[in-house]
């Protein structure tokens, strides 16, 4: 058995769970190709599971899909082609990262709109608010003098 290093390369994989569902017989000989297969699998939903990617799931359907992806990769398909191949058969539901369409605009943009609109509102509120006084007024100075002299 050749040594095999499976490093998961995710696009922005900060908090992704790694996989242990992959079986030894599925693994491709070429580590680069296998790494791509793992990255693609992590983005596809296991359709019979609840909220698991096919990379995480040990369901038969997930296994079939993993093998399908590897077959496509071996045929020299690009990552995008492989994903479209799967989406054509199973629909958009299979994508864990929803495509940006009219229906998912709200989903994708709301978090950033909160930052932008919130920031805009705060800055505007600052401008309309009374400025922070740099200097004491004459009355305040007099009052301060009186206190200090005591």
């Amino acid at each position: 058995m050749t040594k095999f290093f499976a490093t998961i390369v995710l696009l922005l994989g900060i908090l992704s769970g790694p996989a242990l569902a992959v079986q030894p017989d599925e693994i491709l000989k070429d580590p680069a190709l296998e790494a791509r297969a793992r990255a693609i699998s992590a983005g596809l939903r296991c359709l019979v599971c609840q909220n698991q990617s096919i990379d995480d799931s040990d369901a038969t359907v997930a296994r079939d899909l993993r093998i399908l992806i590897r077959e496509q990769l071996v045929k020299n398909q690009t990552d995008e082609q492989v994903v479209s191949f799967v989406v054509e058969r199973y629909g958009d539901y299979v994508l864990l990262k929803p495509r940006l369409t009219a229906k998912t605009m709200i989903l994708w943009f709301t978090p950033f709109l909160v930052v932008l609109l919130g920031g805009f509102y705060l800055l505007r509120a600052r401008k309309t608010q009374a400025p922070v006084h740099d200097q004491l007024s004459d009355a305040e100075k007099a009052a301060l003098e009186a206190i200090l002299r005591k």
Binding site: L11, I14, D56, P98, I106
Partner: protein, 660 residues
């Protein structure tokens, strides 16, 4: 008989909750001392009654009384004692009973420890708290009664979901629930303050310790959940952006924001309206979380309750409390006076930015969790929102926040100089970069995000240390003055440094584990070994396994390093008897630099077994980080100013007749 007593106590608690909702509130309107004071008695009585009900149900579980439907459906006489106890809340009815029990405990705590609160405010807080209890008690008695009998009683019960039969999972719900429900106190304080029409520094000081308790409990609860997922689910992952996880994460994010904004109200009298809104939102998200988990609206890995009728009931509770409190907010908020002016660049400004980013991060989690449900309900179209979405939305919002954390405490109140603050942090930044370079020199692989994450983690830890060093004058003052300052430093300063530093540990653990994990999936026979990150995992053999309520097989492995035995670990495949459900027990070697994680897989041809062995670098830092954050919360809680409450002068100035 004991069950009937418990049932009766529960119904009685409902009546007491109704009293607690109405009478103290009325008393506060009429300024009637005895009526207001009766709220205290009601709150204490309520905790006793619900406690009695809880004990009765626990007794039924301990004695395996299968004539109780709830016990028959969720327990089994073979189950080990600790899972008989945890089985009480390992199901829908029992967990809701635990929920109202913790709610009542918090209500009673306000009644007992809130002696320095103004009488009307206290009466109103207890009344709001009572109304939440009332709503959930009606829910319990009407549609989720844990005390229903089953006749004839079966000989044996169905058993607890095997995946829940684990110490960390068994005891993380009470922590999470305490965190969730603890936010009800901030909510009650906010609603009471809106009814009173007054929010001041004293209010913020009263509300802060409760938020701190909830935050600390949520932190440790989520940490335990992640730890459980890590070693029990057998995938080696610890966070899946599962809706149920998100349900606990959203209140945590808002509680974190609340914790910070309440500081501004307390110290400077600003951000009052926003803080009130956050208090309402924090508990509203707890309710949303309860709805998501309890209604079965999403069936996910964790959800173990599926009953749409109940969902409608919780939804109604949601509508009443969230809608009601927000309406009250809209009516009353404009009359609250804003106070405390500050420049854009100032400690206050920094905390506002913290709140903005935390709210946006929470919005990302919220919409990612609920949008697929909304879309499916409205259009019938199904989409999936998983980890990649959250990495692309939550990530870019949270990263800058993490980057700014060490800067915040360096800013001065009212008006600050960013450059001056950064100058005080230069050595922390330099040291973080140097350490990152050292790490990179040792391990140079993986995506560009890895070094960034490591640098961020070091920056957080060193930045928090820098704040303490700065405050005690280490390096700039003689040692005796440093010592005197160190002793004089409030505990909350150490709490802040610990919480921020713990966050740094967590970030390092999360990033390194996610990006530098080494994994081997092989099919091997006994006697063969797998090399993993300098270790060698020797497969010794397979044995049959017979547990108290499961059978299966176990694999023995020897983990060696340069020929020397480090640890012998066992990975088990369990098949639980009553339901025939399989679970995996991971063979785990925990070490400072990383864990060796061994999982026994399926049996293959001619005696070979699939074995997954991985090296999870820095995994312990995640749990350690969460624990340090929890400790930071506890330490802040013991701060003198929270312990002794509000200074007399402030209380007298606010309410002349405050004495009870």
């Amino acid at each position: 008989m004991i069950i009937e007593i418990g049932h009766f106590a529960l119904v009685l608690a409902l009546a007491v909750a109704a009293y607690q909702t109405i009478v103290p509130q009325w008393g506060a309107w009429r300024n009637d001392g005895p009526l207001m004071a009766s709220g205290r008695v009601a709150a204490l009585l309520q905790v006793l009654l619900i406690g009695l009900a809880f004990v009765a149900l626990t007794h039924a579980y301990l004695t395996s009384d299968f004539s109780v439907m709830n016990v028959a459906e969720n327990s089994h006489s073979d189950k080990p004692l600790i899972y008989k106890i945890s089985g009480v809340w390992g199901n829908h009815e029992g967990s809701m009973l635990l929920w109202v029990f913790i709610l009542a405990i918090f209500g009673a705590a306000v009644a007992l420890f809130g002696s320095n609160l103004p009488a009307t405010l206290k009466a109103r807080i207890l009344s709001v708290q009572g109304s939440i209890g009332l709503a959930f008690l009606i829910f319990l008695v009407a549609s989720s009664n844990p005390f229903l009998r089953l006749l004839p009683a079966p000989i044996e019960g169905n058993g607890l979901n095997p995946i829940l039969q684990d110490p960390a999972l068994a005891f993380h719900p009470p922590f999470l629930y305490a965190g969730y429900v603890g936010l009800s106190i901030a909510f009650s304080f906010a609603v009471a303050a809106l009814i009173e029409g007054r929010v001041d520094a004293a209010w913020a000081r009263w509300v802060r310790p409760w938020t701190l308790v909830s935050w600390a409990l949520l932190t440790i609860g989520i940490g335990m959940g992640a730890w459980w997922a890590y070693y029990e689910l057998g995938w080696g992952g610890f966070w899946f952006w599962d809706p149920v996880e998100n349900a606990s994460f959203m209140p945590w994010l808002v509680a974190t924001a609340l914790l910070h904004s309440a500081i501004v109200v307390e110290k400077r009298g600003a951000l009052k309206i926003w803080t009130i809104l956050l208090s309402i939102l924090a508990f509203s998200l707890s309710l949303v979380g309860t709805f998501l988990v309890r209604s079965g609206v999403l069936t996910s890995v964790h959800a173990f309750a599926v009953d749409p009728a109940r969902g409608v009931f919780i939804l109604a509770i949601l509508a009443v409390f969230i809608g009601g409190s927000l309406t009250l907010f809209a009516l009353r908020a404009p009359s609250l006076k804003a106070g405390g002016l500050f420049a854009t660049v100032s400690r206050e400004g920094g905390l506002v930015l913290n709140n903005l980013l935390l709210s946006a991060a929470c919005a990302a989690v919220f919409i990612g969790t609920l949008y697929p449900l909304a879309l499916e309900t409205l259009t019938g179209e199904k989409i999936s929102v998983g980890a990649p979405y959250f990495n692309l939305t939550f990530g870019p919002i949270f990263m800058p926040l993490l980057l700014l954390v060490p800067l915040g405490p360096m800013l001065t109140w009212k008006r600050a100089d960013v450059m001056a603050s950064l100058r005080r942090l230069w050595w922390a930044a330099a040291a973080a970069l140097a350490l990152t370079l050292v790490v990179l020199a040792l391990v140079l692989r993986g995506p560009w995000l890895a070094p960034l994450g490591v640098a961020l983690g070091f920056w957080l830890m060193l930045g928090s240390a820098a704040e303490l060093v700065q405050r005690i004058g280490l390096g700039s003052q003689p040692l005796n003055i440093v010592w005197a300052r160190l002793k004089g430093l409030p505990r909350s300063a150490f709490g802040t440094a610990l919480a921020h530093g713990g966050l740094g540990l967590l970030v390092i653990g999360v990033i390194i584990l996610s990006l530098w994990k080494e994994e081997h999936i092989v099919s091997i026979k006994p006697g063969e070994q797998i090399p993993v990150a300098g270790y060698s995992v020797l497969f010794k053999g397979i044995e049959p396994l017979h547990g108290p309520n499961y059978d299966g097989r176990l694999g023995r492995f020897e983990i060696t390093r340069s020929g020397a035995l480090v640890k012998e670990v066992v990975s088990e495949k369990r098949l639980f008897r009553p339901r025939g459900m399989p679970t995996t027990e991971v063979g785990l070697l925990q070490a400072f630099w990383g864990d060796v994680y061994v999982v026994l897989g399926d049996e293959g041809a001619n005696g070979a077994h699939v074995v997954r062995a991985s090296f999870n670098p820095m995994a312990s830092f995640i749990w350690l980080g969460a624990f340090v954050m929890f400790l930071g919360g506890l330490l802040s809680l013991t701060d003198r100013r929270l312990r002794i409450g509000v200074p007399k002068r402030a209380a007298v100035a606010a309410v002349p007749q405050a004495a009870e």
